[in-house]
Structure formats: C-alpha cells, structure tokens
Amino acid sequence: MAALVLAEHDNKSLKDATLVAVTAAKALGGDVDVLVAGSGCQAVADAASQIAGVRKVLLVDDAANEHPLAETLSAILVKLAGGYDAVLAPATTTGKNVMPRVAARLDVAQISDITAVISPDTFERPIYAGNAIATVQSSDAKKVITVRGTAFDKAAASGGSAAIEKVDGAGNPGLSKFIGQELSKSERPELTSAKIIVSGGRGMGSGENFKLIEAVADKLNAAVGASRAAVDAGFVPNDYQVGQTGKIVAPQLYIAVGISGAIQHLAGMKDSKVIVAINKDEEAPIFQVADYGLVADLFKALPELAEAL
C-alpha cells in the first residue's frame, strides 16, 4: 500500500493544505510520497522532505509546470499513478481542477472532499453543502481523492528526512496556456490557515466599510473573509468568500459581522471552534450557530471592538 500526495505550493513555499492531505494519506495505512511539480521549486521539495512520515519526495522541476495547469499536472499524475494505490490532493482550486482528470484517465470514481478515512476503501464526505454526511465505499482498485483542508490535523512540517528524487514531467500538451493572474495581496494570514477570521456580509453596506473589519482584524492578526452576498455586491474580491462554493475554513475564532447566516455560508465556517456573530437582526440564523451573539449595530460595535482589543 502506497499513496502519492500532490503538493500545493507557489514554487517558493509549501502550503499547509499539503500537510493536511499527508495526514489523510497516512490514515490509509501505507507509505506516503509527495509530488512537487513546478518550476524553480527546489525549496518546496526541501520543505516537503521535512514532513514527518513522508517516505520520498518526487520532484518535477520543469518550466512547463510554472503554473499548475490541469492538462500538464494531470498528465504527470497519470504517469506516476501506476506505482500507487491512492493519489490524493488537497481540495483546493488546484486539486479540484486537476484530480478529476486523473480519475477519468484511470477510469475510477473520484472521492471528493473527504472529511474522514474510515478504512482504506471507505470514506466520509459532506453532501448537500454539508447538511448531510455520506459514508462511501470505493470498489475501484486505485483511489483518487481530494481532502478537505479543515478535516484532518496537519502533519508535522519537520522531523522527516525523505529523499528527493527527480522525475521527468510530461511537458505541456499544447492545449492550454497560462495568460496571467490577479492575486490579492495582503499582509494578513491566508483565510484557510488563519487562526482567527473576521468576516463581513451584506450588512457592511459597501467595500469602503470593510475598513471597520480590517481594523479589528489588524488587532487580532486575523484574516478577512466575506459572505457570498458581500462578494456578489462587489464589496470585496472573490477570494474572500467563505462558504459552500468559496473557501471552507475552521479557525479557532470566527467573527461574523453583518452576515445573516445563509446555509451556503454556514457550510463554509460551521466547524470553527468558536463563532461570534454581530448582527442588528436578532432573528438572523447566524445566531443559531454562534457561541457568542451580540445584537448590535455593526457600525458602532466594530469601532468599539477595535478599541477594546
């Protein structure tokens, strides 16, 4: 039994989502190798080799892999899959983009977004935006799996000393090319790994008013998130969105401000350890999941909160 984990990275640093996927892979009970595919990504491979419990790091360092195109990455995974019983990736936008291609090529069903490993062929995964949990058993010889980032502990990032083995890529089949990206620049922690998140909803009224959220976030060294309504209204960029179709988060503390608590949003944050809701509508559904609720006008409460912290 051996599993291969696709590393999530930006050619410079290894993302925490990888550590979560390694934990899920270890739960399958066999050896765990990590694939780092990128360009100029030796530092990432070095970091991956330090992960506790990793047997081997496979490194594809090739200009064709500078950006994680589905067509190029899936070709590498398909090539390597022969040596493994399971191929896993974090359920990030990269993992979700690439893995179904691998599954289709191997003619197996993908098991998306697993939240628990019951046995090497049986898994739990949320369906209906997390309003039900399905336990599924795979009859395929090879498993292709994406792993929910909040569902497993992170494997220790140090303590390992895996060998790094260079392997050839698969080139770019010439079907697609990367044109550009607009990445949100922020000094704050990333949403999916932040310990504290302060999120704003439609109640914020404008993008300008998110400054009130940022002032609180600065005091707590927190990430800033948003509900779908706030993103749809154009207050903040798409990558702020927490929810069923945005990012799934589970920080130590989640502060929801001016968010009513649609099922869609709750699906993305209900596994947070402590939830605080600030909303002027005391009937808002968000209060049903909040550990601490404050019925108040956010335009008064947020400055007070920033002051008090």
Binding site: A70, R101, S139, L175, I179, I196, K247, Y292, G293, L294
Partner: protein, 249 residues
C-alpha cells in the same frame, strides 16, 4: 458552431434537506426539484455567446430520470434550441455522466461544452474536468469570464488566491462559477414556445456506457449540530468572554 450545455435536476437550492430516518439517503418525496444553479449560469453563458453571433445552436443535455425532461424544458425556455435526455434511473456518478457526454459530443461535434462547476446535491465538482480528459480537450474550470475567439477561448478562473486567466485551444470545456453571469428568467411566451422544441431521448447504452456506481453509499447521516450559545449585552462582555471563557484571544 454548436455549444452543448449539461444540466442536472437537483433538489431546489431553497429546500432545507432532511436525512432519511433509515440513513439510506435524503428525503426526496414531494420535494421541489430545479435546475442546478451553476447549470443555469452555464445555459445563460451559452445563450449570450449565441446572441453575440458566435454560435449557431445551443443544445441542452441532461442525464437523469424521466422528470429531467422538465430541467431540459427550463433550458429551452431560457433559449436553448433543442434538448437531449439520456434516461437513467438511480444515481449516475460523474464518471458515468462524463462518458455519456463524451458520446454526445462525438455525435454533435460542438466546439464548446459548458457545465456548472458542481451540482449542489453531491458537491462532487468532477464532471467537466472528467469530460475534458476523456475527450483530450483543455478545460477552463470555475469561470468568471469567458471570451470566445476564433480558434481559442480565454477563461478567467476563480482560484484560491484571486483570479487566473488561461487560454484554451478550441474545442474546450468550460465550467461556470457563481459570478460568470446572472441567468435570465424565462418569459411566459418563451415557456410556451419551448414546449414545441424537440427533445431527443437516449439511453446510456446508446453510447456504450455502463452507469453502475463505483462508490457504494453505506449510509447518509446528519452532521453534528452546533448548539446556539449565549447572547452578550455589549462589546465589553464579548471581549471578556473571548479572553476568559473561550480563551481564544
């Protein structure tokens, strides 16, 4: 050129679902069903491309039970030209749907296939990518903008860090994210005229596809419920609780 759009019949997004007492699935009896919201966005995008004069025909395809015909009718009422219903009872997994769609693509020869990025029932997020791989086509998933050129399509994608733009050689597969467009409502005259539009009926066997599931659902259960906590009177009390009771700040 033709565009194929795949649409799925799912539990309406406004319905609060209930898990069956015997844990075999979700209670579906008497529940309102609708087109998967992401697929509505896919239909809308195909129609806009056609209305811009860049496509001649939009074909709506659904794999599902006889009632999935209603879902296709919705797409026809929005403006799609004709439909194909591939009748299959029981759950067809994304791999099975992708194989059926591949058969349809080979018969219809579209330059573009647009699908929703995921269905809101099983939240798999697989079918578009699987179809692209089976066809040997490129893919632009989680699209928030689609610009069709002569031999290529530019897709702006919603990714974890922000937005990414890729250029795909046609033919290609695109999957829609929430902000690609706002789907139109079908007008009454269009709903009436949609009744006359043709829907062809097929079976998975017509495409040589075995839809037997690869995943066995052992049970479906309720997630752990969160208990509502306490209301605090003011900001000072909130900060005190977070510091001294929850100890998270």
């Amino acid at each position: 050129m033709k565009i194929v759009v795949a649409v799925k019949r799912v539990v309406d997004y406004n319905v609060k679902i209930r898990v069956k007492a015997d844990q075999t699935g979700i209670e579906l009896a008497g529940i309102k069903m609708s087109m998967n919201p992401f697929d509505e966005i896919a239909v809308e995008e195909a129609l806009r491309i056609k209305e811009a004069g860049k496509a001649k025909e939009v074909i709506a395809v659904s794999v599902g039970p006889a009632q999935a015909q209603e879902t296709i009718r919705t797409a026809l009422a929005m403006g799609a030209d004709r439909g194909i219903l591939v009748k299959a009872e029981g759950e067809v997994e994304p791999l099975g749907v992708a194989k059926i769609l591949k058969g349809i693509v080979e018969a219809e020869q579209p330059q573009l296939v647009i699908l929703g990025k995921q269905a809101i029932d099983n939240d798999c997020n697989q079918t578009g990518q699987m179809l692209a791989e089976l066809l040997g086509w490129p893919q632009g998933t989680f699209a928030s903008k689609v610009e069709l050129g002569a031999g290529e399509v530019k897709v702006v994608r919603e990714v974890d860090g922000g937005l990414e733009t890729v250029e795909l050689k046609l033919p290609a597969v695109v999957t829609s994210d929430l902000r690609l467009n706002e789907p139109r409502y079908a007008s009454l005259p269009n709903i009436m005229s949609a009744r006359k539009k043709p829907i062809a009926e097929k079976a998975p066997a017509d495409f040589g596809v075995d839809t037997a599931p690869r995943l066995k659902v052992l049970k479906v259960s309720e997630p752990a419920k969160r208990q509502a906590g306490v209301k605090v009177a003011n900001v000072a009390e909130l900060v005190d609780k977070l510091k001294n009771e929850a100890k998270v700040i």
